[in-house]
C-alpha cells in the first residue's frame, strides 16, 4: 500500500489540533466572554433595599456609622462565603438598624480573599467600592447575587451588573479593580489584619472598644443571637 505523503499527515494533524483548540476556546467562554457571559440583571428591588438600609448613615471607606461611636463591630468576611451572605441577608439589617443607625456602634467591614480566585476578584472590587464610600451597598447587592463557590461567576460582567445597581458607584472602576485586585491596598490590609488577630474563618466578628478587641460568638444565626452576643460584649467592655 502506498504511504500517505508526510505533508498530508501534517495537514490532518493541524486540522485535528485546530478542532481541539476551537473546542477549548468554546469551553472557556470564548474571547468575547465579557459580553457573552453577562449575568441576567435581577430586579431592582434588592438594590433598593440595600440603598434604604444604609441611607443617611455616614460611610468612610470600610467604616460605617458615627465616627465617634463608643465601640466598633468588626466583621471579617469573604464575599464568596455563603455564611457571610446568610448573615448579610438575614441578621445584618437588624444590627445596622439597632446598633449602627442609633450610634451605639460603628461598623468595620474587612473582606478577606482566601476562598479562591472569585474571592480575590471580589475583594478587589469591594476595595474600589470602599474608595467611593459605597462598600456596604456593593457588598449587600453582591451577596444577594452570590454564585456557587469558585465557579468563576465573579467575572467582569457580574461585577458590572452588581456595581451598576449601586447608585453613584463607578462600575468600570470596580471592574478594573476586580481585574487587578492585588493593586488594591485594602485587599492586602484585610489579609494582614485577619492574620494579626488569628482570625481563621468567615464571618468572624470582633468588638473594638478603646483599642481592645473582644471576639463576638453568637450562638446562632438569627438577628436575636447577634444582638445577645453584641450586648454581652458591650456590657463586658
Amino acid at each position: 500500500m502506498q504511504r500517505r505523503p508526510a505533508i498530508v499527515n501534517v495537514a490532518i494533524l493541524a486540522v485535528l489540533a485546530a478542532a481541539v483548540v476551537f473546542a477549548a476556546i468554546l469551553i472557556s467562554g470564548g474571547g468575547d466572554g465579557d459580553e457573552t457571559t453577562a449575568t441576567p440583571t435581577p430586579g431592582a428591588a434588592a438594590a433598593q433595599e440595600a440603598e434604604k438600609l444604609y441611607a443617611g448613615i455616614p460611610q468612610n471607606g470600610i467604616r460605617l456609622g458615627d465616627p465617634d461611636a463608643p465601640a466598633t463591630l468588626i466583621e471579617i468576611a469573604d464575599l464568596q462565603c455563603p455564611f457571610c451572605a446568610q448573615y448579610s441577608n438575614e441578621a445584618m439589617p437588624s444590627v445596622i438598624e439597632d446598633y449602627v443607625r442609633t450610634g451605639k456602634l460603628a461598623y468595620e467591614l474587612r473582606f478577606r480573599s482566601f476562598l479562591g480566585r472569585d474571592s480575590v476578584r471580589a475583594a478587589g472590587a469591594a476595595a474600589a467600592a470602599a474608595d467611593e464610600n459605597k462598600l456596604y451597598e456593593f457588598a449587600d447587592v453582591f451577596y444577594r447575587n452570590q454564585g456557587p463557590e469558585n465557579s468563576d461567576y465573579a467575572d467582569d460582567a457580574f461585577m458590572r451588573m452588581v456595581a451598576s445597581q449601586v447608585p453613584g458607584l463607578d462600575a468600570e472602576k470596580v471592574v478594573a479593580a476586580a481585574d487587578d485586585p492585588l493593586s488594591q491596598p485594602a485587599v492586602r490590609d484585610a489579609e494582614e489584619f485577619a492574620r494579626g488577630i488569628a482570625s481563621t474563618s468567615t464571618p468572624d466578628f470582633f468588638l473594638r472598644v478603646k483599642g481592645r478587641l473582644t471576639k463576638i460568638e453568637p450562638e446562632g444565626t438569627a438577628p436575636a443571637d447577634y444582638a445577645k452576643a453584641i450586648d454581652a460584649a458591650l456590657a463586658a467592655a
Partner: protein, 144 residues
C-alpha cells in the same frame, strides 16, 4: 542537535515553566515577574487562567509531559503524537496571547516564555513528521 533531542530539551523547558506556574497557583503565591508591573498577577487572577475549572498552567504542564513521554513511542507514532500535542499547544498559546493583549490588557512573561517554547516545539515536531522515512536520528537542526 537531533530533532528528538531538541524535542526533549524544549519539553523539559516547558515543564519547568508550567511547573513553576502550577506551583505558584496552588500555593497562592504571586509569580515573579521581571520588571514588576503586576502583569502575571493580573493574568493569573483573570477568568481565563482556568479552562473548565482546570488551571491553564496544569494543562500546559500535562501537555509538556505528554510531549516528553511521546519520545518513548516508536518514532513514526511518537512524532505524530508530539506534532499533534504541540500544534494544540501552539494554537492555545496563540489564543491566550491574544486574550492577554486584547482582553486582560496585561502580559505575563511566563506565559510568553511558554508560548515561545511551545511554538518551537511545534516547528520541531512538524519537522520530525515531514522528514523522509529512515532519516532517523541523523537529521540535525541548528542550535540556537
Amino acid at each position: 542537535m537531533t530533532l528528538r533531542r531538541a524535542t526533549a530539551v524544549l519539553a523539559l523547558a516547558g515543564i519547568a515553566i508550567a511547573g513553576y506556574l502550577t506551583w505558584v497557583h496552588y500555593n497562592g503565591l504571586e509569580p515573579v515577574c521581571v520588571g514588576g508591573g503586576g502583569g502575571c498577577e493580573k493574568v493569573q487572577a483573570s477568568r481565563w487562567a482556568e479552562l473548565g475549572g482546570v488551571p491553564v498552567a496544569v494543562l500546559g504542564l500535562a501537555g509538556y509531559v505528554a510531549i516528553l513521554a511521546s519520545l518513548a513511542l516508536p518514532e513514526e507514532i511518537g512524532a505524530a503524537a508530539a506534532a499533534f500535542l504541540s500544534l494544540v499547544g501552539f494554537g492555545f498559546s496563540a489564543w491566550l496571547t491574544y486574550v492577554e493583549v486584547e482582553k486582560i490588557e496585561a502580559i505575563c512573561q511566563w506565559c510568553v516564555a511558554s508560548a515561545v517554547v511551545m511554538t518551537a516545539l511545534a516547528l520541531v515536531s512538524v519537522a520530525r513528521v515531514l522528514r523522509p522515512p529512515g532519516a532517523g536520528r541523523g537529521v540535525s537542526v541548528a542550535s540556537p
